[in-house]
Symmetry: C2
Subunit: 265 residues, 2 copies
DNA sequence: CGCCTCCGGATTGTCAACAATCCTACGATC
DNA sequence: GATCGTAGGATTGTTGACAATCCGGAGGCG
């Protein structure tokens, strides 16, 4: 989905120096040298365009919190930063607007989205809708053994990260776990919709809590979820998922203000 | 959501003559004359840009079947048809790509999406996920009386259309019913996701069956759904919704080839 | 005969400049 | 003193031209 660009676009320009420009020119990297090295299967190679690279870089920049919420994204400024014309920047920004990371006001500019508490609750409502449907779909699969191993492995990865107190890794493992769950449903549209809300989730995490805290329960929850998702009791799995996704809302409502720590599935 | 453009963008250029151009120039319609007449509330006025108008026109054109599935959308050609430059056309096409109506292949062009039978099943899977979540959400609402009236009215509208064998009107009523259901959940993300799958639904309808047939059961189903959705038995509502949305898949699987008639919720 | 190479046309991607729009602040008027 | 009207500056929207890419077929070679 999402045209034919790779889903997890790599970081091309993480931090953008104001004047000095990093790579990202087609003259420097001839288009002919495709990214042959990391093509996983023998399907269509992902043609790379400047727009796509700029979109990826900007997505990473926004998700990493390099731009504050509500901040305006200046076209000309970004264009000079990336050493690119305004065209690709415009296209990239529009893509991120459609993904929900930016909001665009015609004739005024695009801004980093400001997610309210209501938005956070809505994000998790949408996630429950998507992941719940994925659970239902998974329950109808003939072979769930491979998925069980996969989810268990992700849960272990998270447990180790929690033990090592590597919160960045915890967040990644969390995202990977839920993505694996949704992708297992083999529904392009569920996966596509999940892409959007997962990006918003990352935005919430970074903007509202800036990391993971008090995550003792997290790994255990994911272990349970891995078992239930590939088990035979669909209702129990749904209930566990509901509890799991309701958690951050409760926590957020309890702590109220941002800055303090919180766990987030 | 979706920036601040109106959701159901009106038809600006329904059929586009090859050379002679209809309106759609900013010189012809001074930007100052905003669409004050049909602004429902006193919120932000929707700024109109060429890109947005072109996107609306192209969306209508694709959904109305003016472009065959798989057909390439030529930028220059469309630009001359709309009497605009290629820039706005590019932006509009990218927007429709994100909406799932077109697919883009970098350096090759964008094409009208070709929905397979698997895609149709996937669309209805996604719809069940979204509308099921909406049902759950509605069940938690304090006051469902207004919604009950609204849904019942839509169901009646459909019943009359079925009686009159006005299949175009039946389709519109169907879309309106399900949109009202989802919007009642008051979840921006559910509504946003529903926008996309509903557009794909319309595409399916037009491309696979080109109209409604054998819809005797349709109105009754929607009446039941209206009652159950605003009733107290959530499980029953979910079950009815599942049956309702599974219908077209069964029918399509039975008839196999397109062209023959089918009902579609 | 099949395959590879190369070329031409068509199409898309990108660029830099122009025009329209918006926001802010300043001054005039009541 | 407050409100309205109006320039100024900055930003976005749009345009037309240039460059890169892809697809088709003609031609040569094994």
């Amino acid at each position: 989905m999402k045209a034919c660009f790779p889903r997890g676009s790599a970081t091309f320009v993480a931090a953008c120096p104001p004047i000095a420009r990093t790579g990202l020119r087609r003259s420097a990297v001839p288009m002919v040298e495709r990214v042959l090295s990391l093509a996983p299967s023998l399907s269509r190679l992902p043609r790379v365009t400047l727009s796509g690279q700029v979109a990826g870089a900007m997505r990473d920049a926004v998700l990493s919190g390099l731009f504050r919420p509500g901040q305006q994204m200046n076209e000309a400024d970004l264009a000079t930063r990336f050493a690119v014309s305004r065209g690709p920047v415009r296209e990239a920004m529009q893509r991120l607007v459609q993904e929900g990371l930016l909001v665009g006001h015609p004739h005024r500019g695009v801004f980093v989205v400001e997610l309210t508490e209501a938005d956070l609750a809505d994000v998790y409502l949408a996630r429950e809708a998507i992941e719940g449907a994925a659970l239902r779909r998974i329950a109808a699969l003939p072979d769930r053994a491979a998925l069980r191993l996969r989810l268990a492995a992700e849960a272990e990865r998270m447990a180790e990260a929690v033990a090592a107190e590597n919160w960045r890794e915890v967040a990644d493992a969390d995202l990977a776990f839920h993505r694996a769950l949704v992708d297992a449903a083999a529904s392009p549209r569920l996966s596509r919709m999940f892409d959007t809300v997962q990006a918003e989730t990352r935005l919430c995490l970074h903007l509202l809590m800036a990391g993971y805290r008090s995550s003792a329960e997290l790994a255990a929850e994911h272990r349970r979820l891995a078992a239930l998702a590939t088990g035979d009791d669909l209702a129990a799995a749904q209930a566990e998922l509901g509890r799991h996704l309701a958690d951050p809302i409760h926590i957020l409502r309890r702590i109220g203000a941002p800055g303090s720590g919180a766990s987030a599935p």
